[in-house]
């Protein structure tokens, strides 16, 4: 009875899978602010040409260069576990498998693309990468990758996180990266913000502005920008997760998987585990594929505010500040990694097509599930990952009620050892879930009835 299955390095996939080649309703080409298609040279100030080519590629399979494989071998292939102890605790006939991406040196799936991006930049002659980070997971992954490839790394970390999460900052510094609180005095964008709002806690939008500026204004031309989620090439690099998992399921003797689950913020880890299975579904396989998000900040499920599938970084024009109500101070909320403000277009389009079945789960259920997982399987998962764990338990319990031996696969995208304050809040009983009532929903919909809505195209096959 195998508890986990490894692949040898020889068995690791040599190609990434590009869902853009198979989506029944193709993504529209990216458009610039003027509404005209973005040409590759327009993105050249921030990305090397090889990554831009991947961004717009319609090739189904893209070869993983040997140089990238050699670095990935340091922790890949990652193990696929059978969660026997969890199955026993749940008393479910379902077979639960999880792909353990927490074994990477940075503790999450993020290095899969960080290494690839750093490698392509180095091949292009780039000496330095600049990026932004919120919680620090992406910043530490890129710092790790740059360290291995001998690149300099500059990370603009949202100030509030810089101050509240010192260990992530130390991780980045240990790998040799320069991590500065954003807004900083090192860029024009940062200085302008600090001049107006010296006490600002920062935001991802400001940090992105600083990182892009650092790349564009380096007169040596040796600095580029790197992004950890949302873009097509980022999702592409993550598909090694699902491709490995397919081979490992075969080694476990599984001929098919019934349910594939991943938490979804910006979409990269979800895409990584699921896109190879989405391909199977497009070609006729019956698989339920579930991106999971928090009920507290939904963008894919019942959210009344579904108009927003965009990104937070754009700064809207400055409006007059209202002093009234500034004494209004409710209890803080926990802002886990899934409160991300943009979903990858490829994931969004797959939802529109009906290929995915999004699910939202309240935070208490997620942490309850994470505690059971820790007590049975032993791993303390990242708060984001707890959403995938909770969804898996829901499906396993459903299989128990139905008496069906379903095969469930989920992505354990990262460990939670750097994000324990969410666990602390849960254990202290400080996390509160509230359901959005029908009345509230109606009221909310009324509030946004005049707001612009996205246009969606679908084939109607799923």
């Amino acid at each position: 009875m195998n508890t986990k299955v490894f692949l040898t390095e020889d068995e690791m996939p040599r190609q990434w899978y590009n869902l853009a080649a198979d989506l029944p309703s193709p993504l529209q080409p990216p458009l610039g602010p003027d509404g005209k298609p973005v040409s590759p040279d327009m993105l050249a100030p921030v990305f090397p040409m090889s990554l831009i080519e991947q961004e717009v590629s319609q090739e189904r399979w893209i070869k993983i260069p040997e140089g990238i494989l050699e670095i990935l071998f340091r922790w890949r292939p990652t193990p696929l576990h059978r969660a026997y102890a969890l199955e026993k605790a749940l008393g479910t006939p379902a077979k639960i498998y999880y792909k353990n991406e927490s074994v990477s040196p940075a503790g999450s799936h993020k290095p899969n693309t960080a290494v690839a991006q750093a490698w392509y930049n180095k091949e292009f002659g780039i000496k330095r990468l600049a990026t932004e980070t919120g919680a620090g997971q992406w910043g530490s992954a890129l710092a790790f990758a740059c360290s291995l490839l001998g690149l300099e790394c500059k990370v603009f970390m949202v100030r509030i996180s810089f101050e509240q999460k010192p260990y992530r900052k130390i991780m980045m510094q240990t790998w040799g990266a320069q991590c500065v609180a954003s807004p900083s005095t090192e860029t024009n964008a940062g200085r302008e913000v600090l001049k107006k709002y010296p006490d600002t806690p920062g935001s991802l939008g400001i940090a992105i502005s600083e990182a892009v500026e650092a790349a564009v204004t380096d007169q040596t031309g040796k600095t580029r920008y790197s992004l950890g989620s949302v873009l097509n090439h980022v999702l592409l690099h993550q598909t090694i997760i699902g491709l490995e998992a397919k081979k490992q399921l075969e080694k476990f003797g599984e001929k098919k998987v019934d349910i594939v689950i991943g938490c979804a913020g910006g979409g990269s880890n979800f895409a990584g585990i699921s896109f190879p299975f989405v391909n199977d579904k497009i070609h006729g396989a019956k698989i339920e594929i579930i991106p999971v998000e928090p009920t507290s900040c939904p963008t894919m499920t019942k959210a009344p505010f579904v108009y927003d599938h965009g990104d937070i970084a754009k700064m809207t024009p400055l409006l007059p500040m209202h002093s009234l109500g500034h004494s209004f101070v409710p209890e803080p909320i926990h802002a886990g990694g899934l409160r991300y403000h943009g979903m990858a277009p490829l994931v969004s389009q797959a939802i529109v097509e009906g290929l995915l079945t999004p699910m939202a789960i309240p935070q208490n259920e997620c942490f309850k599930a994470a505690l059971l997982f820790a007590k049975t399987e032993g791993i303390i998962v990242a708060p984001e990952t707890s959403h995938a764990v909770a969804a898996t338990m829901r499906k396993a319990n459903q299989a128990k009620e139905e008496g069906k031996e379903k095969v469930i696969l989920f992505n354990l995208s990262g460990h939670g050892l750097m994000d324990l304050n969410g666990y602390d809040s849960y254990l202290q009983g400080k996390l509160v879930d509230h359901e959005l009532s029908g009345e509230d929903l109606e009221k909310s919909l009324k509030e946004i009835k005049d707001h612009p809505k996205p246009v969606a195209a679908k084939t109607g096959k799923w």
Binding site: P30, M42, I208, V212, Y307, P332, G422, H451, P452
Partner: protein, 73 residues
């Protein structure tokens, strides 16, 4: 996004001292945030706050163009 606790003030002043576009999504469980916004912001301001942003490519192109202005001539 941040992996730790955030105050309502942070979300309310997120975007250069105007509310984050996702403030309704993130706070509707906790407080009557819709009422709060309608009390303190005009319809025009609310539209500006909730106006969908450009996609990632447009945002990048915009930032690239802005950054180019800082290059020495």
């Amino acid at each position: 996004m941040l992996g730790h606790q955030v105050s309502f003030k942070y979300c309310r002043l997120y975007n250069m001292e105007i509310p984050c576009r996702k403030i309704l999504d993130c706070w509707h469980e906790t407080i009557p945030v819709g009422e709060f916004l309608h009390e303190f912001y005009s319809d025009e301001e609310l539209k500006a706050i909730f106006n969908p942003p450009p996609d990632r490519y447009s945002m990048l192109m915009d930032l690239i163009e802005k950054s180019k202005k800082f290059l020495p001539k």
